[in-house]
């Protein structure tokens, strides 16, 4: 399945899960800042991705909690530490961290979660 095909399915699923308009769901749209997703929506999205693509998503696989909960090893003085960045890379090989690494502010970590990240995650699951 191509990234474009995956994107079309992800788009439809986001419209249902988040009650947003189709044209709001771009590849760059951030789940929280742009599409208004809240914590429970992430669980809903996980359920829908599993059903739509026939994949199994383990807890913490797509949205790793250890980072979000501000574990002091990973987050210090409002920034994600070297160890935290290594953890992000290990847990989320499908994420594009290049821009975030330059200024790894913890309160911007949710901006990593874009529609594109979901598309790439699904592609990596389908190909594995």
């Amino acid at each position: 399945m191509s990234h474009d095909e995956i994107f079309e399915k992800v788009k439809a699923l986001m419209v249902d899960a988040l009650s947003v308009d189709e044209d709001q769901v771009t590849r760059q749209a951030r789940l929280q800042a742009d599409l208004g997703a809240e914590s429970i929506d992430f669980l809903d999205i996980v359920f829908r991705l599993e059903r739509e693509f026939g994949i199994k998503i383990d807890r913490n696989e797509l949205f790793p909690e250890s980072i979000f909960q501000g574990d002091p090893e990973f987050v210090k003085d409002g920034k994600v530490t070297e160890k935290g960045l290594a953890e992000l890379k290990a847990k989320m090989p499908f994420a594009d961290l290049s821009a975030f690494e330059a200024n790894p502010k913890f309160d911007q970590i949710s901006d990593l979660f874009t529609v594109d990240l979901i598309v790439r995650y699904v592609a990596s699951k389908l190909n594995s």
């Binding site: 249902d16 899960a17 429970i40 929506d41 669980l43 809903d44 359920f47 599993e50 059903r51 807890r59």
Partner: protein, 168 residues
């Protein structure tokens, strides 16, 4: 006032589906205000009855060890108003049940007529965080809701219902 919006279970298949009935009485308070001169059951209370049916179904699947809370309703459709004197059937079917929560699809019918349908998403409150916030008492499945289920089992000839505990 009792916040129980279902009267009785008529079908219960653990981990799969459940149907409860709700008989609407003109004596119920909401009819007086919703609306004066045009008494119809508030759609929100129809959803509450459906959520109680689904919530007990989801809770029973883990022997009421989890605190099951309504997290969101991604979709709901209502096809007509409901009046006093009607008998509603709430049917909840588990689509997905996971350690973190469950997705349930619900249908509300009278006879063969579809009144409403909705998807309801339940979350299991995280056990550790939850006990800090609420203590160890399971406030969701206290007394009355579980009593309804025990009463349903009695109807099925399984066991006698136990009265809900009188202390909170």
């Amino acid at each position: 006032m009792r916040w129980i919006w279902i009267d009785r279970f008529v079908e219960f298949t653990p981990g799969k589906s459940a149907t409860a009935v709700k008989a609407l009485s003109y004596a119920e308070d909401h009819f007086a205000d919703h609306f004066p001169g045009f008494p119809v059951m508030p759609a929100s209370l129809i959803l509450e009855g459906l959520a109680q049916t689904g919530g007990i179904l989801v809770g029973e699947a883990n022997q009421f060890q989890e605190k099951v809370v309504l997290a969101k309703i991604p979709a709901a459709k209502f096809f007509r108003d409901v009046m006093a004197g009607e008998l509603l059937h709430y049917t909840a079917t588990i689509i997905d049940l996971r350690p973190q929560g469950a997705l349930v699809s619900g249908r509300v019918t009278t006879g063969k007529e579809l009144i409403a349908e909705a998807e309801i998403f339940f979350a299991h409150l995280d056990q550790s965080r939850n006990s800090q916030l609420f203590g160890d008492h399971n406030f969701v499945f206290s007394g009355e809701l579980k009593y309804l289920l025990t009463a349903a089992r009695q109807v099925a000839g399984e066991e006698r219902p136990q009265l809900p505990p009188t202390t909170a």
